[in-house]
Subunit: 205 residues, 2 copies
DNA sequence: GTGCAGTTGCACAACAATGTGCAATGTACG
DNA sequence: CGTACATTGCACATTGTTGTGCAACTGCAC
């Protein structure tokens, strides 16, 4: 096999990718899924997984790295084109919604015993950026909440997580979910429902 | 020792209770805590725990039973004196807040791999009652949300969980937490921030 | 003190999961 | 076909956890 930067995926690389994909969904279902469960779900033998990742820690770590990167990128992308805190929250929510699974695995792993040391740490830059937007909104009076900005950011995080689970459980139609999430995120921050609905509708035309 | 219905706790009963208490906080910290961790934290040997509970499942089950009962009672108590959906949500939130730890352990265990089969099931009566209140509020126009009632109920649940964690992480002062939670629960449902604040202030005079 | 419930300190078997070694087997590519 | 690499199917040692058995110990009541 040639060391091509681009070209034929070489079955090994394909397997590696598929293992990562399957591991994502499997760990989403059960954060304590064993290497054997993941391997079987990926259609390979446990031994093969160890051919790609030296340890469970490494496998989950790779997964987390990708997710952190994706989430950070989505957050940034959503925020950069925004005018004001409200629009930033709305755009950010809509952007993150595009990579819902990556976000879910991070929150799911972060809120349980620290499977990979430092998920919270690696996620904090994003959370701090989010906190800053919320603080600005609170200062400007665009948002109205009795909560301090950090707590509001945490609520925001869990709110998205909850709605992603709701879609997963069939309580919420996947079509409207993104917009609904954005509206709910805004109203939870104290933005009037009418204004929130209007803003989100404008952004997702 | 006599088979008294009330009276001296008899060291054994005292130990049993302490084990349950410690198990609550320990499982809150790490839902996969081993019997040894729990035993040591309770100041006894692992073998002693098995003298009170035949298995880990039984221990956690007893814990969950008590928590479900407490949460259901709090919810009911908060709702019975309420006039209208908004006040029901506010009172319910404030009531549940009194037994935050019991609530947290339930949500924490329910949202991970099913440690005890049927936590979700045993919690659904409460959730359905909550859903009904929210649905009524949406119908009456007191609440304004793009979310269907079940999804909103789920958001409500996770919102409380998030704020309890926020208190635990020091992001939110324990004093104001209950009122802040109630206000946030209302605004997330689409109640104007001013009205929510006013209502909660009135209820917690 | 004597008795007794409760606790302790082992020892043990059973099981599940991790990580490694190695020979056999498949499979692509020239 | 033959070479090179990936995958497979074991076997194995190791570790952590669960649940049980039993003898010794502790404290409290009588």
């Amino acid at each position: 096999m040639a060391p091509m930067t681009t070209g034929t995926p070489s079955r090994a690389d394909a397997n590696r990718r598929r293992i990562l994909d399957v591991a994502l969904t499997e760990l989403l279902r059960d954060p304590d899924a064993s290497m054997d469960q993941i391997a079987r779900a990926a259609g390979v033998v446990r031994r093969t997984v160890y051919g790609h990742f030296p340890s469970r820690e490494a496998l989950v770590g790779t997964l987390v790295d990708g997710a952190v990167e994706a989430v950070a990128a989505a957050h940034a992308k959503g925020r950069e084109a925004a005018e004001g805190p409200a629009e930033a929250v709305a755009r950010g929510t809509l952007a993150v919604w595009e990579i819902a699974d990556r976000y879910r695995i991070l929150v799911a792993l972060a809120q349980r015993s620290v499977t990979v040391q430092g998920i919270r740490d690696r996620l904090t830059p994003v959370r701090e950026a989010c906190t800053e937007v919320l603080r600005q909104g609170l200062d400007e009076g665009v948002f109205s909440s009795p909560l301090p900005a950090p707590a509001l950011a945490y609520v925001h995080e869990q709110l998205l997580f909850a709605l992603m689970e709701a879609v997963n459980e069939g309580m919420l139609a996947a079509e409207e979910a993104g917009r609904s999430a954005a509206v709910t995120a805004l109203t939870a921050a104290g933005v009037p429902a009418s204004r929130a609905t209007e803003l989100v509708a404008k952004l997702s035309d």
